[in-house]
Symmetry: D2
Subunit: 249 residues, 4 copies
């Protein structure tokens, strides 16, 4: 068993170190991850500049690119042997509901799945979370399960873990993504030279967060596991679109 | 009718100028787009640095951020009046099949849809495409149709236009995304100082490109229109995942 | 006569357009400059990434690099014919006293001088200066003079022009660099996510700005012209250093 | 004695670790340096974006900015107590002759001197140098000497150390900067997508490298110490410039 590990918080983050240490006790691990924080990088891929990969003292390989770059680079050429699965994380903070669109952690897993491998994104909920050992233990459980019972090829798992000691976790739930309200307004301010600058505002609050959603699972002390798809086609709208296109204007 | 226009090729690109000129003949347009090429930026959002917006001579606003930043900024604070819909493009080159995961053009439309507006991403197929007027005409047609017959809220349109004169276009087809083969290997080489560098390789060839796909529509001279979803939950795997989680290891 | 023009405010700046237009009436000009504002770039040179050069509609070549990159690229390979001299500017704002250490405009001229060409950096004083035509006229005067009477090889000219109509300029003065007081403290604040950020503070006020300095010339309505050197050796300290090294500790 | 240490190779570089360890045995040290390689950054200062400072496990503070940013930030606000002197390095590779114009290491020392402190830039010669302990020992020697016998305020020291065991070093020489030949041509090539890219070429060979120069000292096994100046005015050309300006054209 050979596991590729990446993240979006960069190679110094506590989360990826906890994940690598835990999985390394059960499998060969290769860590290829960004050289700095690349949160909210989404599936951004670096096409117009070359990438550099540097071997760190602890055996990690850090890359001056996005999470997607790291996984892409690792699988399509950097690693001598192709890994058997990809784990991304442990993200410092939740990737719930609409967050997944922007998340670099989910993107790293997506790239793994897209390149043919089982893939898991794992995040520890909270603004300054502590229980990385809990999330690492969940990762080990999922790794073993995937080894025993393969996952469908067209699915990746988005896992969010409550920031609790392991013995307070109530279980693992299959969830759907909830939704947030529209994001808050941009914050307009001035730099010290008097020029206008804008900061992207905070994400919106939970809007659709009822039973069955990832938000609800976390709130109730469960690990939330959402199956995500790679194919963005909205199949159930194809027929409606056909009719719409035929309408006269 | 007030239309927000953005892209990922930057404010100097021929495509966004063609799109803005065409739509401006039928509606008020506001252009807010990157100050340079940000292709393959995906839904990347700039959270850790401020953004700057500059009014150009031609009335465009250029932003030193990603396509998602531009649309986010425009809708959540920069524009005095909220627009009625979002058009992204005209992208220089296709966004077919798996391309949509990485595309900054599709991401710009996604952000518009996510913030509550009808949204269309439009791309002109080809490595150095010429017929921007064709794609602009398609954009005008879709704008009018959306005005007359609203689109479902949870859907955005990914439009690809063959690089042909308008009178050679055979029609508009509702399609699903095809799939490419796995990407080519990274290209490993040296910089002039003897250090190893890596370039992300070209995308794979078409793999799933049969009837019904966007690839097939383009190949046959049709405009391909694929309904995309924002909710990445793979609903039809939720029950299977529930059972999988219950398996003993 | 063939003049290379660059700047640090980017190819859209009013200053470089005014300079190029004025010099083009008397010589062939080639403009190679940054694709965005690169103020305070100093002599920064891009060694670890490749550069891209794009021909703009107005004939300028914009480069995704620093001012030094632009001049280096132009002279060592991009231009078909080597230019006869280099003009950098017109900078939006002063480059007086210690500013020259950080200035990208001065650096562009330095690179030209370093690569063997007569070089002039020209700046228009003020926080939002208006009289670019005055500075452009000064540039034309200096270009003609250099053509008629060559400058010493190891000198470049740092020119600052008061923001006044041409007929209010009192003349051209040979000056030395003044000095500013120590810079103001960094500005410590928080980003909207509560993380500490720092902004470099404003430069200090004038400290050594008496008769003979560039500050004094400007204050009195003169164009200030300071001869700058490329060789940073402090020759008059070499002997003292020799003795210092021989001291016992 | 409190010493501020910075560099341009980034906080992970062997050189800065060797320097910090050696000086820490004789003084309090504060390390504030870039979070990644910023070679050839020159005196570049970040004015348009905020900086972030992160405390590392080993007590270093890493900053997402240039060497000049680091020293500026440290002295004008980050450090609780102002340091007594600044050491920059140990640079991996020489900073000889014209290199000093571009060097981030020299720039870090320059910023320290500019803000009022004795400052030393120290570099270990060679393309992959090994004897960091030699350079560290030279740094300790200079630190003690500056403590005992102050340096003139308007001078900083640019130190280059041969890559030799300490007992093979012949001594310390006061030198002037030599000169290189004009840089090699840019390297024009294509990226894998067929677009033209340019790499800055290698520096030129030694041109003025005779007795008295830094090049010559190194070649003969001596530590080269060049006094550098902050005031770029070429005083001995001021009178000539005055006459030149008076010439008729």
């Amino acid at each position: 068993m050979h596991i590729l590990i990446s993240n979006d918080d960069g190679y110094l983050a506590q989360g990826i170190n906890a994940l690598a240490n835990a999985l390394a006790q059960h499998a060969k691990v290769s860590v290829v991850c960004p050289d700095k924080n690349r949160s909210a990088a989404s599936n951004s891929l670096t096409l117009d500049m070359p990438l550099r990969a540097t071997l760190c003292d602890n055996g990690f390989v850090r890359v001056d690119g996005t999470p997607t770059d790291c996984v892409h680079l690792a699988i399509t050429g950097l690693l001598e042997h192709e890994p058997d699965m990809v784990f991304a994380g442990i993200n410092h903070g939740a990737n719930l509901g609409d967050d997944v669109l922007y998340s670099g952690t989910v993107a790293a897993a997506t790239e793994g799945r897209f390149l043919g491998l089982p893939a898991v994104a794992i995040s520890l909920v909270g603004s300054d979370p502590k229980h990385f050992d809990t999330a690492a233990e969940v990762a080990v459980t999922l790794m073993r399960k995937i080894q025993a019972y393969p996952l469908p090829q067209d699915t990746l798992l988005n896992v969010n873990v409550p920031d609790l000691p392991l013995d307070q976790i109530k279980g693992l739930l299959s969830t759907r993504l909830g939704q947030r309200h529209k994001a808050e307004a941009v914050i307009r301010t001035n730099d010290p030279r008097g020029h206008t600058i804008y900061w992207v505002g905070p994400p919106g609050c939970e809007q659709d967060a009822g039973p069955g959603t990832d938000f609800d699972a976390i709130r109730n002390g469960y690990v939330s596991i959402t199956p995500l798809q790679l194919d963005l086609t909205r199949y159930d709208r194809m027929e409606g679109l056909r009719e719409w296109l035929a309408l006269e204007t």
